[in-house]
């Protein structure tokens, strides 16, 4: 006669029993799960390790929520990569770029805002330099463009050219090296010259030693 079939004894396990045992032995496994949560979500864990994680998640709502948030962020984050900047954005951008020719460095250098100021400065400097350079000593020749204007105009232009040449010639002469000036005496030489000039005065003013009276000749014996 067979024994009557009895269901296996499955006592009600208190929920906090596992926590109590773990607290008295290894401590909470949640920190270990957090170390492996990213690998679990990425599917990098092997099967045995993944089943251990799943077993923990089945009983730990906090870790399950954390892994759920990791899944959610993993699903949503890549969708944030691409955002729509608005309906007219592309048109504005193309207007800002296409009408500009592809430019070289030299082109950009020449289109800086201060290029006009810099060019004016360089031009003024070149003009000043050209004005101060001496004119070449050429024979006087009135330009051909003045000749049809008549004798008076030719005379005026000729005078202007002569004045220019005179100025440049004097300028050129002023650039000639001058003879070297005599070297100025040094301080010691000047002091010596002063002393030499005062020396006769000192000699005269110096007190002379008193004259030694000449001994009187001994009186002759009477």
């Amino acid at each position: 006669m067979d024994a009557p079939h009895r269901p296996p004894f499955t006592p009600e396990v208190p929920l906090d029993l596992t926590q109590a045992i773990l607290a008295r032995t290894s401590g909470s496994p949640c920190q270990r799960l957090q170390d492996q949560a990213c690998a679990y979500v990425d599917g990098e864990l092997d099967d045995s390790r993944a089943s251990l994680v799943q077993a923990h998640l089945a009983h730990c709502p906090a870790c399950a929520a954390l892994v759920g948030a990791l899944h959610t962020s993993q699903r949503l984050l890549p969708t944030l990569a691409d955002a729509d900047p608005g309906p007219w954005f592309t048109q504005r951008l193309l207007r800002a770029t296409v009408h500009r020719p592809a430019t070289s460095t030299w082109w950009r250098l020449m289109h800086r805002p201060r290029i006009a100021l810099e060019a004016a400065y360089l031009g003024a400097a070149a003009g000043l330099l050209g004005t101060y350079l001496p004119m070449p000593n050429l024979p006087l020749k009135v330009p051909a463009m003045v000749q049809p204007l008549g004798a008076s105009a030719q005379r005026v232009v000729g005078q202007v050219i002569q004045v220019e040449r005179r100025a440049s010639t004097s300028l050129r002469q002023s650039w000639q090296p001058r003879p070297a000036a005599p070297a100025s005496p040094s301080l010691w030489q000047r002091i010596k010259a002063r002393l030499r000039r005062w020396l006769p005065f000192f000699r005269q003013a110096a007190p002379r030693p008193a004259a030694v009276p000449e001994k009187a000749p001994p009186p002759a014996n009477p």
Binding site: A37, A65, T97, V98, R100, T103
Partner: protein
């Protein structure tokens, strides 16, 4: 058309190719600029500046797969410069702009689209609460999909640091989402 071929045409002066290039990358650049500035108008201006800079330096754009990392790098630099300027001279108005999520056209029904927009908005706010380095790593790795070595090159930190920081940043973001009620 692939970006290297597009670039080749753009360099030859093809305006249609340039338009296709702009449409191909403008969303990525605008999205990245928006995450840095949190202002849609500033992000639009920065995106324009970045594309003008690309157009003026077409010879410097890498031909091969390095095109996107290069664009992301100059976008990041432009954003950081902009944030420095804004820190020195803060604007008179500084409103949080959530209109980014309303601009996107979706095929979902209105209720789902609204829920999705709310989730994305919460995610964006959680991102703003991260530390700067963690947020940048999330931006570059999880959002823009760059590799560890590319991120290490952009941020000038070792690859190992990027890897460990990445996991830490993801956990920090997940904890903030959980606290906001988005877990599970």
């Amino acid at each position: 058309m692939e970006p290297p071929h597009l670039l080749d045409l753009v360099r030859r002066g093809d305006e249609l190719a340039w338009e296709a290039f702009v449409r191909c990358f403008q969303g990525r650049v605008f999205g990245l600029a928006y995450h840095y500035t949190a202002q849609a108008e500033d992000a639009r201006d920065l995106t324009q500046d970045v594309f003008v800079r690309i157009y003026q330096n077409l010879t410097l754009v890498p031909d091969e797969t390095g095109c996107l990392p290069w664009i992301i790098r100059i976008t990041r630099n432009a954003c950081i410069d902009h944030l420095r300027r804004r820190k020195a001279r803060p604007p008179l108005w500084d409103l949080a702009a959530d209109e980014l999520f309303d601009l996107r056209a979706t095929d979902q029904n209105p209720e789902e689209a609204h829920l999705e927009a709310v989730r994305r908005s919460m995610l964006h706010r959680a991102l703003e609460e991260l530390t700067d380095l963690n947020r940048e790593i999330i931006l570059l790795k999880e959002i823009q999909g760059l590799g560890l070595e590319e991120i290490a090159g952009i941020l000038d930190v070792p690859v190992g640091t990027v890897k460990s920081r990445s996991n830490r940043a993801r956990l920090e973001l997940a904890q903030k989402l959980t606290a906001a009620g988005m877990g599970g």
